[in-house]
């Protein structure tokens, strides 16, 4: 079954054609890596899938369902979440609240439960906190639950982004450059974490990343973008050998990994 199917997707900003007739699909439980030089349109693709931008043309199917007219805030409910390239945590909240907020967005309680503190309020609050705790343990952040999110180190904030994206039990997870701004040690750590995520949560993943080691290691398939178009697609091994890819972008970077 295809988890995600994108066809003829286009988006331009002023004169810039950020995404230009892109088409690809992702099988359920597959991990697709997306690489491409800066400005290739990768993040724009995510923004289109998650409804933050409306496409100029083309369509996106999620398990066969068109997403065009689904409001952006419904997507998490349908099972699509993402991380952001530049961290976008809820910095005024605690680490744990960064997870309980999305969780309570999925399984809530009504206004009167809140105002009058009915039983349902306590039940749902507690179960959200427990769920958040489990996730924080998974990411080794459990002892930091009551800190402010902006008090975490950079690497920890990256983990919290991932944890938050997993908090709503997504079926499709879009990860945008998790390794941005990390040193080689942190990258290795991240790789291990992402492996665990793949094993532990049965998910479909689309992963944008510049760190070749990471992409090639984690992806079942890799898609290469340049100027908003797909220039190659295949298994990591195939993509490594593709002439066009090497010319357009990878060059010497590939040799080093």
């Amino acid at each position: 079954m295809k988890a995600l199917e994108v066809s003829g997707l286009k988006k331009s900003f002023g004169g810039v054609q950020a995404v230009d007739g892109l088409a690809f699909s992702v099988e359920e439980y597959e991990t697709l890596g997306i690489i491409g030089p800066n400005g290739a349109g990768k993040t724009t693709l995510f923004n289109l899938i998650t409804g933050l931008y409306r496409p100029d043309a083309g369509e996106v199917l999620f398990f066969g369902r068109r997403l065009d007219h689904v409001p952006a805030h419904r997507l998490a409910h349908l099972g699509i979440t993402r991380t952001f390239q530049n961290l976008r945590l809820f910095n005024g909240l605690t680490v744990s609240q960064n997870l309980t907020a999305p969780i309570l967005g999925m399984h809530g309680y009504g206004l009167s439960s809140a105002v009058f503190r009915r039983r349902r309020y306590f039940k749902q609050e507690r179960s959200a906190e427990e769920k958040a705790h489990v996730l924080l343990e998974f990411f080794q952040l459990a002892d930091k639950g009551s800190l402010g999110a902006n008090n975490l180190s950079y690497g920890e904030q990256r983990k919290l982004e991932l944890a938050r994206a997993l908090s709503t039990n997504p079926r499709l997870l879009l990860i945008d450059e998790p390794g941005a701004g990390m040193n080689p040690r942190e990258i290795r750590d991240l790789l291990a974490t992402l492996r665990q995520v793949k094993e532990h949560f049965r998910l479909t993943i689309v992963l944008i990343e510049h760190q070749m080691g990471l992409v090639m290691n984690l992806s079942d398939r890799v898609l290469v973008m340049d100027f908003g178009e797909k220039i190659a697609e295949g298994t990591p091994a195939e993509v490594r050998k593709d002439r066009k890819v090497i010319e357009a972008y990878l060059g010497d970077e590939l040799k080093t990994c």
Binding site: F13, G14, T43, N47, L52, Y53
Partner: protein
């Protein structure tokens, strides 16, 4: 024929008011361009210009051709100081903190200057240094005050245009409006250009103050509030950050205000301006000439 000439007459009156709004709106739009700040105190700079001219003319008998440059220099200095003292320390603060500070500066200027030992809160007659005469052009009459306002406004627009498009300061200002980070990477002295923008904007507001005094010769420390807000609305209407947008916006607001007073009811004039504001914000927040995209 009667009606046509009445409409034309009101149009002239509206353009007179609109020209003053345009001069104030330019300052808002330029400052918003470089700082993304609604400089709430801008209307008070306009007021200070009117008072400066009042003192120059009626207390110190300064000749009229000197009143203009001196007043503009005084308000320019005020604009410069406001930016340096109140806004600059908040350059990296949250946007709303800066906005609240601007509200604070505005209130401070109004209430400080309204002290009885200073300008007092009362209305004062503004001394026109010449007699008002009207010239009958058959369909409508135009006064010498209106001619002065149109001429001075047109001339300053021309100078401003040259400044912005043909000098290195103007180019730097435009670069800064476009993207502050890139501009500073390109070696543009950001602080200097921000100061420069305030100086130019405040000088224009001062000019607006003098002209306003000629046209509506009753001044008061709170006189800047409504024209200030309306001029800001004019800037939004034209497309905030866009020079010719501010001018067109100012003229539209001025004419609408006068038309509503003339044809409907003068108590509704402020209401209509806010109605225009809501329409613009809802239909096209980027204004007539604007094109802005949010970046994720």
């Amino acid at each position: 024929m009667e009606l046509l000439s009445y409409v034309l007459q009101q149009l002239i009156n509206g353009l007179q008011l609109g020209a003053v709004y345009a001069l104030i709106a330019l300052g808002y739009t330029m400052v918003y361009g470089v700082l993304r700040l609604i400089n709430f105190a801008h209307g008070d700079i306009f007021m200070f210009g009117a008072f400066t001219a009042y003192y120059l003319i009626s207390k110190w008998d300064v000749p009229i051709y000197l009143v203009f440059p001196i007043t503009m220099a005084v308000t320019a200095l005020l604009g410069f100081l406001i930016e340096k003292i109140a806004y600059k320390p908040l350059r990296s603060a949250p946007k709303i903190a800066l906005l609240i500070t601007a509200v604070g500066v505005s209130l401070f200027l109004e209430y400080f200057l309204s002290l009885n030992s200073l300008f007092t809160p009362n209305y004062i007659g503004f001394p026109r240094p010449f007699e008002v005469t009207g010239y009958d052009l058959r369909l409508f009459t135009i006064t010498n005050v209106q001619l002065i306002i149109f001429a001075v406004t047109a001339l300053s627009l021309l100078l401003l245009y040259l400044l912005i498009y043909y000098t290195k300061y103007g180019r730097a200002m435009r670069a800064l409006s476009h993207d502050r980070e890139v501009a500073s990477l390109m070696g543009i002295p950001v602080d200097g250009i921000i100061s420069f923008t305030f100086i130019v904007g405040a000088a224009l507001a001062g000019l607006g103050g003098i002209l306003y005094g000629f046209a509506y010769p009753q001044i008061n420390v709170f006189m800047g509030i409504m024209p200030g807000i309306k001029s800001f609305i004019a800037a939004v209407l034209g497309g905030i950050g866009i020079i010719h947008g501010a001018v067109l916006g100012g003229l539209i607001i001025g004419v609408s205000e006068v038309f509503v007073s003339a044809f409907i009811s003068s108590t509704l004039r402020d209401g209509v301006i806010f109605f225009i504001l809501f329409l613009v914000l809802l239909l096209k927040p980027s204004g007539i000439f604007g094109k802005w995209i949010d970046k994720v």
